[in-house]
């Protein structure tokens, strides 16, 4: 009797094994199930990153940008004698390798993703998005989160004299910079800069330097999708630098002049408003390129009300501008709304 039980148990175990194999087979997904599938994004970040190119020209390291001409038609070569990306304390590019920075944060990385357009106001489209680390709310109460503390006021303005009128909140002044909106910690804001020599007609004319310290681009994104066989997009570009420095030196990189310094520089620029105002990139048949931000002319009154109150806006703020050590105070550009823009290149 006991033997029979044993045999039964062995058979039963074998059956369980076979049942498991059958469960592991691939089965086809129904249309309903496929409809639930959402693409995951790919996140990436650079850990302990530093980069330096073009340095030490004497040993043959060169990074040249050619194809430019001056007003007299002479060839102008931008010969880069240093381009670097490093951590804070790079001391204008003298401390690069060995002074790394994390670009992107593990929990808030750079991200490539296919978005469902229905969720972001681009109906029925799959939208490709490249995004930098996201922003936190900070002192902001509504999206998109801003790095600037604004004093707002209510205004009524027309789109154009005699055209639709809309009422909404507008920036009256900027009261400060709110760094709590950045997901990149202070140690994750890069220093980068470029030193380049201007060579005109083969003669080294001048050495120019531009350095940015404590840079973050959190909250920026580029979205692209197809519309009537054309690639269109929306762009949000956010740039924060603790300090921007520009100065010129003689041809040997010595005897540098006074520097122009922007302290706490904030650029928050949105281009395009979903499908209603797409940004297009085109090349004409004559070989010139065109960037166009769609016109809002002819749109409904309701659209203009929404565009005025919630549409894309560009704000620029510099907490302090100083030239040669003399402070000039703050500078603000705010409430800039592009109703139509078309920029075309022209070969000189």
């Amino acid at each position: 009797m006991t033997d029979k039980y044993l045999i039964l148990i062995v058979l039963a175990t074998g059956l369980v094994g076979y049942t498991n194999v059958a469960q592991a087979e691939l089965t086809s997904l129904s249309d309903e199930a496929l409809g639930e599938v959402k693409g995951e994004g790919i996140g990436f970040m650079l850990e302990d990153f530093a980069f330096e190119a073009g340095a030490d020209v004497a040993t043959g390291n060169r990074l040249d940008i050619t194809g430019l001409t001056n007003s007299a038609g002479d060839d102008v070569v931008l010969s880069v004698s240093q381009f670097y990306i490093a951590g804070s304390g790079s001391n204008l590019g003298t401390n690069v390798i060995g002074n790394p920075v994390n670009l992107g944060r593990l929990l808030y990385p750079y991200n490539l993703e296919l978005l469902d357009g229905d969720d972001i106001g681009i109906a029925g489209k799959a939208v490709f998005e490249f995004a930098t680390p996201q922003r936190f709310a900070g002192n902001s109460t509504e999206k998109p989160y801003s790095l600037l503390d604004f004093n707002m006021e209510q205004r009524t303005e027309s789109r154009y004299p005699g055209e639709q009128t809309a009422t909404g909140r507008r920036v009256d002044s900027v009261s400060g910079v709110d760094l709590a909106a950045l997901s990149s910690r202070a140690s994750e804001r890069a220093d980068f800069g470029i030193r380049y020599d201007l060579m005109e007609n083969g003669v080294r004319a001048q050495s120019l330097e531009a350095h940015a310290q404590g840079v973050a681009t959190d909250g920026s994104f580029l979205r692209l999708w197809g519309d009537n066989n054309e690639m269109v997009g929306n762009l949000e570009f956010n740039f924060y630098a603790q300090d921007l420095l520009f100065f010129a030196c003689d041809a040997n990189g010595n005897n540098c002049g006074d520097s122009v310094q922007f302290h706490n520089f904030v650029l928050e620029s949105q281009l395009g408003y979903g499908e209603e105002q797409p940004v297009t990139f085109e090349v004409e048949s004559d070989g010139n390129f065109t960037i166009e931000v769609g016109s809002i002319e002819g749109k409904t009154n309701a659209f203009y009300q929404d565009f005025y109150a919630n549409g894309p806006r560009t704000d620029i703020y510099i907490e302090n501008v100083s030239v040669g050590g003399s402070d000039f105070g703050s500078a603000t550009v705010s409430n800039l709304q592009i109703q139509y823009l078309r920029a075309t290149s022209r070969d000189l």
Binding site: T2, D3, L6, V10, T13, G17, V21, Q23, A24, V37, K38, G39, E40, G41, I42, G43, F44, M45, L46, E47, D48, F49, A50, F51, E52, A53, G54, D56, T59, G60, N61, R62, L63, D64, I65, T66, G67, L68, V96, I97, P100, R105, L106, L107, P109, N111, E113, N228, N229, E230, T280, F281, E282, V283, E284, D286, G287, N288, F289, S345
Partner: protein, 185 residues
């Protein structure tokens, strides 16, 4: 006798149940981690003398492709048209030169600590691309341009070069590129 029978049965049964291949559960698969990694050195030369079409292609493609030449027929070319109303092409042209590195590494890594507290919360696997310490360039060039047709041999070909980048010598770098899935599936 019964005891002997029982042992015999157990012996017979054990190879079947003990050694059969069994599917792994998702939980078990989660605990599997890749070991080791890849160490790569590379020496890549792109179209040093203009490219294969310059030596073996039709006569229309052949041109003088010395290192200083910016002839549109020399070097690799990528032309992109952005849509039906766009009649011209964005072009990356004259892509050539020699590019070498040593010490690019590829491996998987579990991050569950560090990163100023982010690691413990992240607690997941990433693909780690260890960047080489130096990149060597020799006559590497790239031209950004706009053109009215995809190929330089097309009838009525016109191209506006915007700028050309030439790189020689060495670039220094350090760090790791970490790649991992994001989002909420």
């Amino acid at each position: 006798m019964k005891a002997i029978n029982r042992s015999l049965l157990l012996l017979l049964a054990s190879p079947v149940t003990g050694f059969a291949l069994e599917p792994m559960s998702n939980d078990d698969l989660d605990t599997v981690t890749g070991q080791g990694g890849v160490y790569l050195s590379g020496d890549l030369t792109i179209n040093e003398n203009g490219g294969p079409l310059n030596s073996d292609g039709p006569a229309a493609w052949q041109s003088n492709c010395t290192a200083a030449s910016t002839d549109s027929k020399c070097g690799a070319r990528i032309a992109v048209n952005t849509g039906s109303s766009s009649t011209g092409w964005f072009v990356l042209d004259n892509i050539r030169g020699r590019f070498s590195f040593e010490g690019l590494t590829l491996k998987t890594r579990t991050i569950n600590s560090g990163f100023v507290g982010d690691g413990a919360q992240f607690n997941s696997e990433v693909l780690e691309v260890g960047l080489p310490n130096t990149l060597d360039y020799e006559n590497v060039s790239l031209t950004v341009a706009n053109s009215n047709s995809p190929r330089p041999t097309d009838v009525g070909f016109q191209q506006t070069d915007i700028f050309t980048l030439n790189i020689n010598g060495q670039a220094n770098l350090q760090g790791n590129l970490l790649v991992y899935p994001t989002g909420t599936p």
